[in-house]
């Protein structure tokens, strides 16, 4: 099963409500056959921009990361489920970054700008 990461933005709420929302989310994952590895909190932070979700505008939100193993067919359904949750500002499921292979950085590759000076497209006479 591939490893996914759910970057979850939860509405800025009181602690018990946040706990309940997280519990709800993780139980939804477990119900669909995922294996949750770890749950991290990045704290309640100001959003970089105002996000409107479920007819509400949010300036602050709680950032949470859930990494889990899931079947590929489940991703769609969990995204659908989370989009309906009013406490969730923005759900995002990505492949876990630690599973991506580490590529050697080539540095700044020099681009020959002379080739880009003139367009190579042949104009119609």
């Amino acid at each position: 099963m591939p490893r996914y990461e759910l970057a979850l933005l939860l509405k800025a709420m009181q602690r018990p409500e946040t706990v309940a929302a997280l519990k709800r989310t993780v139980e939804a994952l477990l119900d669909r056959g995922a294996i949750v590895r770890n749950l991290e909190s990045l704290g309640e932070r100001t959003l970089p921009y105002k996000i409107s979700a479920h007819s509400q505008k949010h300036r602050r939100a709680g950032y949470f990361l859930v990494d889990f193993y899931a079947p590929t067919t489940m991703v769609d359904s969990i995204l659908d489920h989370l989009s309906r949750d009013t406490d969730v500002v923005r759900p995002t499921v990505v492949k876990h970054p630690l599973t991506q292979e580490v590529k050697e950085c080539d540095g700044i590759v020099p681009v020959p700008l002379q080739e880009k000076l003139y367009s190579t497209k042949r104009s119609k006479k």
Binding site: T18, V19, L22, K23, V26, E27, L30, L42
Partner: protein, 201 residues
């Protein structure tokens, strides 16, 4: 007509000479025209023959032709003899025998060469078979080693995963984990230099 044709002009002294030199030529009349009235009783007589001269001539001709015929027959006989000797003479037989002997010799040499090359080939094939066997054995050993290494690695991974599985979130420790996560917010907003120093700002 002949008067007009003499190249030396209409001179009376030259006319007999011109008549002797030039054969009769049809000038004005074709062969289908009737002869003239002046030629009605003409009987053409051949030139007179000198018997002594004739005799001498015939004799000379006979001798000449005899000589030439003899020479020709000599030459033809020589040519035929040469052909016969080339076909069935002593030299030709010797040459044929020499060729047969040479052919036999060369066939024998060919057989010997073939045998020698066959032995070399057998040795070479045996060598190649041995080398192939060795190489295959090495390849087999290498493959088994790699297989074992792979299996080892997989076992390691499985053990690691088993260790990590003890730390996974289940329905039982869900609430505890949520509480602990909310209590310890993590911060990924840092960078690292090449020397390994962490930079937070």
């Amino acid at each position: 007509m002949q008067r007009a044709l003499t190249p030396l002009g209409a001179r009376s002294a030259c006319r007999p000479l011109a008549l002797l030199l030039l054969p009769p030529v049809r000038g004005r009349k074709t062969r289908h025209d009737p002869p003239a009235k002046s030629k009605v009783g003409r009987v053409k007589m051949p030139p007179a023959v000198d018997p002594a001269e004739l005799f001498v001539l015939t004799e000379r001709y006979r001798q000449y032709r005899q000589t030439v015929r003899a020479l020709r027959l000599e030459f033809t006989l020589e040519v035929q003899r040469k052909a016969y000797e080339a076909r069935a003479g002593v030299e030709a037989e010797r040459k044929a025998q020499a060729e047969v002997a040479e052919h036999r010799e060369m066939m024998a040499w060919n057989h010997a060469e073939n045998r020698r090359l066959q032995e070399l080939r057998i040795a070479r094939l045996r060598q190649e078979a041995q080398e192939r066997e060795l190489w295959q054995a090495e390849e087999q050993a290498r493959r088994t080693r790699e297989e074992q290494a792979r299996v080892q690695q997989k076992e390691q991974e499985v053990l690691l995963l088993q260790e990590e599985a003890k730390k996974f979130i289940t329905r039982e420790n869900l609430e505890a984990r949520i509480e602990s996560a909310l209590d310890t917010p993590k911060d990924y907003n840092w960078a690292i230099t090449r020397s390994g120093q962490v930079v937070r700002s």
